[in-house]
């Protein structure tokens, strides 16, 4: 962390809820999402598999191709001839998959045929005319189906439906088990859900015939990786793809998997010699646009009688569906938060990634950490009951203490900062924990069932990319970094370009606040295009908006570039004013002599010297006033199975949910919800609060409403927002958000992750609250979601949700 008093020339903007005036276009309806771009296009629609698992015997596209207004009809076979297969990131067994179905379909909704037509209505008409003959195979829907001895193989070449099976031990787990007085063990089932950004995926691709190059507009979350993947798969040089990301209507990880469709669109553009456009429908999004995997997790805690947790074992089986690129990732990334907020000396993990005939999975908000924290925080409650402790006391006894920072978990994750006990103390007091317990008893007399539940969770940020190769040699990515260009324009205003994209987090305003305080100007004078253009934006393989990296490496790059610009401005000013640079200060868009402020030069004049009157520059100085910087997080370790850090910053939070359960209808009402969050230094509390609440509502949706339900044939039953229920404005409580601020020593400003925390901590807090409310019935919560039907059944018959 830098000394902020030295870094900033004013302290007026960082830390204040500065309005997002940089993003005024959104409230005027003048934003530019991909679908808003004005361009003559052919329109693309996909014929998708109606079977979960089948051999493709024949596809007859002749009638569709003959329909007037149809420009091209392309099958998976055609695509496979012109592309390379998908490269998997984490799995250890061989599996070959193309961006469209070839020979076989592996999930309902897998794209089989792409049609380009003069308009989307026509393209959809053409799909009706395509004839596909399938030979249905046995669908493998649940993990158990895929692991059965006689199960067919989804990828024959893999020789198994387990594409990754890894066992990792860290710390002395044998000793922990020997020393323990008791063990608690439980099995959990987690369901499939997704953050479903409101804007679906959208792509426009144009082919530049002369040099076989492509210009693509897409709402892509990680252009650094997408450009690599797309170029590799098309076999074109990097110069053959220019990727532009305009405004994006939410991401949450779900838009990390758009690049296979970019590959398809490029082929269609080349084939038709037209710009082609595909806008995913919501049905396509829910069916084939990626989910968080469902999982079966067994977890065991080895405990001392006084409640101290000595060791943790986990067996984690993920249903990764049928997308081999990201399969296995959810298991491995759990190491970022395997021991949660607790000082646990030893861990054992068995991680399994299973392919099934469910839809593809990708990194949904929190990626595996929601699951890990859910099972761990459920266990802490269960263990507390076993040893006769209050759940809060159980947590206090096991927390990593502030004095232990930086704390290394057994696997090598480094918690660089945080005050977990303080967060819990604050949450207990804000939620009125003690009084509530009394009230709960009174209400119970009246036949009303209230409960309170808590969770303490780590919210890791900034992926140390490459963690997912810890088991198979050196990865193609390591560490994390971002690039930025900062320039002062002719008029003395500041312009920023970033290698990242914005999914709605307000990067432009946050950046403007930082730059404004570094240069002593108003944030209104700092503009930043959040539209990325791979041709002109500074760019790394890591570039993109994911894993909460903005506050760390993105701003790091902005700060380093701004420092370079600032140094150059000082040298120009010093030369112009005839004053030592050390005696100059920044004041309201000017640089002036500290001893006599009348001797000053405005940014505009400095820029004029730099860009125009270049003979006035100091001897030997290059013209121009624009600097580029790349910044990497310094805490990343190179991958090694024995000692690795999956992520590089660690925010944390305590969630405290109070619920009432109607045991007749099964309805769960959230009565009160407290979030105590520690993301280190806050730059814009208004934005931070929005993300803390927004991410929490994602988790609430996952616990109470949302589930991708498949029938035994692998048909997805939740393909619209009528069946896949999202939280609405009605039915949510008012959230109370409070902060503890432990600055992060390894980021420049002391900032840490913000965007995912609520989606991680809320699952267990709610489940623990429901279990507390239903304690008189002895109901255990071992699965999600907690639907009214499951509640009623648990109360009346099964005793288990």
């Amino acid at each position: 962390m830098l000394n902020l008093d030295e870094l900033f020339v004013t302290r007026k903007w960082v830390g204040k809820p500065v309005r997002r005036d940089q993003d005024i276009r959104f409230i005027r309806g003048e934003a530019t999402y991909v679908d808003d771009l004005e361009m003559e296009c052919g329109h693309v629609a996909f014929l998708r598999s109606i079977y979960a698992h089948a051999r493709i015997k024949r596809i007859d596209t002749s009638k569709a191709a003959a329909l007037s207004g149809v420009l091209a009809v392309v099958t998976g076979e055609d695509v496979a001839r012109e592309t390379r297969p998908i490269v998997p990131r984490a799995i250890t067994r061989p599996a070959t998959q193309y961006v469209m179905a070839v020979e076989k379909v592996r999930y309902v909704g897998e794209p089989l045929v792409a049609v380009v037509a003069e308009d989307r209505y026509l393209a959809e008409d053409a799909l009706e005319l395509i004839d596909v003959e399938y030979e249905p195979l046995r669908p493998l829907v649940e993990i158990e189906d895929a692991l059965r001895e006689d199960a067919p193989l989804i990828f024959e070449e893999a020789g198994s439906n387990e594409l990754l099976h890894e066992k990792l031990e860290h710390g002395n787990i044998e000793a922990a088990y020997r020393e323990a007085d008791l063990f608690v063990k439980e099995r959990f089932r987690l369901h499939r859900y997704s953050s479903t950004p409101l804007e679906n995926w959208a792509i426009i691709a144009k082919h530049e015939k002369g040099d076989d190059a492509f210009v693509v507009w897409a709402n892509d979350q990680q252009p650094g990786r997408s450009t690599t993947n797309v170029c590799n798969m098309l076999g074109i040089p990097n110069s053959g793809l220019r990727l532009i990301v305009p405004d994006s209507g939410g991401g949450f990880g779900i838009k990390l998997a758009i690049w296979p469709y970019i590959v398809i669109l490029c082929l269609l553009a080349r084939r038709t010699d037209r710009a082609v456009k595909w806008v995913q429908t919501r049905r396509e999004h829910l069916l084939a646009g990626t989910h968080a995997p469902d999982a079966r997790v067994e977890i065991e805690l080895a405990l001392r009688r006084d409640g101290r947790i000595l060791g943790l074992s986990i067996k984690d089986i993920q249903n990764d569906g049928s997308f081999i690129h990201t399969a296995g990732i959810y298991g491995l990334i759990k190491f970022a938060t395997m021991v949660g907020c607790y000082d646990i000396g030893a861990t054992r993990a068995e991680l399994v990634s299973v392919v099934t005939n469910k839809g593809p999975t990708v990194q949904n908000r929190g990626v595996g950490k929601p699951t890990m924290i859910f099972v761990l925080e459920r266990m802490v409650d269960i263990a507390a009951r076993r040893v006769g402790l209050d759940p809060a006391e159980m947590r206090f006894r096991n927390f990593v203490q502030p004095g232990q920072m930086p704390y290394s978990t057994p696997s090598g994750e480094i918690y660089e900062s945080g005050n977990y006990p303080e967060c819990l103390r604050k949450a207990l007091s804000l939620s009125g924990y003690e009084e509530f317990r009394k009230r709960k008893e009174e209400m119970r007399e009246q036949g009303r069932y209230l409960g309170i539940g808590m969770s303490a969770s780590i919210e890791p940020g900034t992926s140390n990319l490459g963690y997912y190769y810890t088991h198979r040699g050196l990865p193609e990515y390591m560490g994390n970094a971002e690039g930025a260009i900062v320039g002062v324009d002719y008029d003395g205003n500041v312009n920023v370009l970033l290698g990242s994209v914005d999914e709605g987090q307000g990067h432009a305003t946050t950046t403007a606040q930082v730059v404004a305080d570094m240069l002593g100007i108003d944030p209104g004078r700092v503009s930043m295009s959040t539209h990325l253009d791979s041709l002109i934006s500074p760019f790394l393989g890591h570039s993109g908006c994911y894993s909460n990296k903005f506050n760390d490496v993105d701003l790091g790059a902005v700060i380093m570039a701004t420092k370079k610009v600032r140094d150059k401005m000082l040298r120009i000013a010093s030369h112009a004013l005839g004053v030592e640079a050390g005696e100059l200060t920044f004041r309201n868009g000017e640089i002036c002599w500290a001893k006599d402020e009348r001797r000053s030069i405005a940014f505009k004049e400095i820029a004029t010297v730099a860009y125009k009157k270049i003979l006035l520059l100091p001897e030997g100085m290059e013209p121009g006033l624009k600097e580029i910087a790349y910044y990497k997080n310094p805490a990343a370790k190179p991958p090694s199975k024995a000692n690795f850090n999956v992520q590089l910053t660690h925010s944390n939070s305590v969630h405290m949910a109070t619920v009432e359960v109607d045991v007749d209808t099964g309805a769960v009402t959230i009565v009160k919800y407290v979030i105590v969050h520690d993301c280190g230094t806050q730059i814009n509390p208004g934005i931070v609060e929005g993300m803390a609440i927004g991410s929490t509502v994602h988790g609430i949706g996952a616990v109470l409403y949302e589930e991708f339900v498949y029938d035994e044939n692998g048909q997805l039953l939740s393909t619209s927002f009528m069946d896949y229920l999202k939280p609405l404005a009605v039915g949510l409580p008012r959230f109370e958000v409070a902060h503890v601020e432990s600055p992060c020593p390894t980021t420049l400003l002391g900032t840490k992750a913000v965007g995912e925390g609520g989606a991680i901590g809320s699952l267990a807090a709610l489940a623990n609250a429901v279990e507390d409310a239903l304690a008189p019935f002895g109901v255990k919560v071992t699965s999600l979601p907690i639907t009214p039907e499951k509640v009623v059944r648990a109360v009346r018959e099964t005793g288990e949700i």
Binding site: F26, D35, I693, S695, T696
Partner: protein, 158 residues
């Protein structure tokens, strides 16, 4: 093909359209007003909310031909060059993240405040029940609408 004529944001439009063309596609593709968004295909998300003769409708649930002769207001027409107080309030209260739901939210809020200038929090929540926001968790949107109601009452505007 059918000929339709509508007024959108006070301006007259006339086009030959296919009977199956959705109103939202008409607004976006024929009138080229892209502030009206599409977030689903079933009328559940509200991203396409527009005012039809003053009433909020989901323009993905109507055909363009059904709007023949109607007066439409989209987000682009709410305040001319300046900002409507509701828009100001959305900025003040951080009610916008990705902005995709925002036009629909603002139009639903506008219709609410016209009918009920002094809504309770519960009434605000009900008024935007048909508008999904995937980013904010709604709290700051609800606060913005309450704030807008206050500033509009104070300035006597509607």
């Amino acid at each position: 093909m059918h000929r339709i004529a509508v007024r959108i944001n006070g301006k007259a439009y006339g086009h030959e359209v296919e009977p199956r063309l959705l109103l939202v596609h008409y607004i976006r593709e024929k009138a080229r007003l892209t502030g009206t968004h599409v977030g689903c295909d079933t009328g559940n998300c509200g991203a396409c909310t527009t005012l039809l003769n003053g009433q909020p409708v989901k323009s993905c649930l109507m055909l363009a031909v059904q709007a023949n002769g109607a007066e439409l207001t989209t987000i682009e027409g709410l305040a001319g060059n300046g900002l409507h107080q509701i828009q100001e309030a959305f900025l003040d209260k951080f009610a916008v993240q990705c902005g995709y739901c925002t036009p629909g939210m603002i139009l639903s809020a506008y219709a609410l405040l016209k009918a009920n200038p002094k809504p309770e929090e519960g009434e605000i929540r009900e008024a935007i029940e048909g508008n999904l926001c995937m980013c904010t968790g709604y709290q700051q949107i609800v606060d913005a609408i309450g704030h807008a109601a206050r500033t509009m009452r104070m300035s006597g505007s509607r």
